[in-house]
Amino acid sequence: MQNRRVKLLWLSAIACNGNAHSFLNYPNLEQFLKDFSFVYHPILESLYSLEDIINKQVECDILLIEGAISPEFKKANTPIINLISKYANIAKKVITIGTCATFGGIFKESGYRFTTGLHFEKEKELFLFSSLKDKTISLSGCPIHPEVLVSTLYAIKEDLELHLDRFLRPKEFYAYTIHSGCTRNEYFEYKIDNHQFGRLEGCMFYEHGCQAPFSHGSCNRILWNGVNSKTRNGEPCHGCTEPDFPKQNLFRTKKNMGVPQFLPLGVSKRAYLTLAGVTKAFKIKRLEEDLF
């Protein structure tokens, strides 16, 4: 696909179109559309209509699926799973865009029964589309970062090898935690929450529900709109890339007798508590004060 425009078919299942909107914020859309074309997209101008892709079989290289999947859900009276099967079989690659298409996400709460992601229901692996696993890439996030989607598409176009994690997500973007690159790491290290929403001071892990230390993604490495991230801006990470997104009480850290229920990824409770005991014994005046 190196020397030609790659044909994309963007299929929207049970979705809010948040990923499509996020994609529109990609700054180099003009160049992108020289290298890729949409044979079908639910909100962008494209070569074919929904009716065409249902009634005919149009050519496509990559099938993009946005939104959660249920056998009950139909597009123009056609079950979404039939449409997925039809195009996934001819496409060279399938990408699940967003947490709903990957794990079921927030639309697991929709009225449709058996709502799941393409290959996963939360952490549980599914078998309906297992023959597609070898060609699937998962891009979780609510929404996905446009840079993550576009970079993945270019990697496919250029035939580059992508290393995937157990949920089929490219490690390039998902091997890190959201915590990596957060500007509040000093406050995290010395266990100072002391936070007010929107303010620059304090780490939100201890009281305010921040899930960055145990959620996978690149929000603090590839900034949103090139300038910021939720945690840098003063709002806790809600773990939107994770199989169990959304949890409940997103603005409060769930604690058992003062110990956070979810600890930084891979850190044992004993190690965490030992370290916490040491850092909490000291008062760092500079970190207790306002920055400005």
Partner: protein
């Protein structure tokens, strides 16, 4: 354990007994050296000052009790059973190694100025406190203990046990400590229980 480490542990044990019985300020380095039958100079090779020795002793006690609690935490038993085992370990230690608990109550908690540099907060007792936190956290996670502020629960548990050992040390308790184990562990569990 190599010879030097064995000597270090011996010094800690002898010193903690002297500190616990005679008091921190009434015990001198020459007293400790004499009890060990070693020279003062040689003792300083192991511990550079009385304050440093005092801090090493509390870490040693925390390590000793922390390990006992870790064994209990690793057992596949209910939080109620763990509660009883922790009470047993604490009273057993008070009976068989009474100076350890006395040191904690009468030296560490009573002479805070000695421990202010190097033992800030709960650093020097962190091995013990960490295991208590794990016991609490897992109890809440399993739905057996009520979720509450750590210190409300910690104070109830440790204050109670410390108080009983203190009363025993003052010869006020009419019965042996172990005869109180069932009642006390039931009281603690009922006070902390989610039900």
């Amino acid at each position: 354990m190599d010879k030097k480490e064995a000597k270090r542990v011996e010094i800690i044990n002898v010193a903690l007994e002297l500190f616990a019985t005679k008091g921190f300020y009434s015990t001198t380095i020459p007293d400790i050296a004499k009890a060990l039958n070693m020279s003062v100079g040689n003792l300083y090779n192991y511990f550079k000052s009385k304050d440093i020795l005092a801090k090493e002793i509390i870490k040693y006690i925390s390590h000793y009790l922390g390990n006992k609690l870790k064994e209990i935490n690793m057992m596949p038993i209910s939080t109620k059973e763990k509660t009883k085992k922790i009470v047993e370990v604490y009273f057993e230690t008070a009976k068989n190694r009474p100076h350890m608990i006395d040191y904690f109550l009468r030296v560490y908690l009573s002479n805070r100025e000695v421990f202010k540099d190097g033992c800030e907060g709960m650093i020097c007792v962190s091995e013990f406190v960490t295991e208590i936190m794990i016991y609490f956290e897992e109890g809440v996670r399993r739905g057996e203990l009520k979720n509450q502020d750590f210190f409300s629960a910690f104070g109830l548990f440790m204050g109670y046990l410390g108080g009983m050992v203190f009363l025993k040390g003052e010869n006020i308790l009419p019965k042996e400590l172990e005869e109180y184990i069932d009642d006390i562990s039931n009281n603690i569990y009922r006070a902390l229980s989610a039900k």
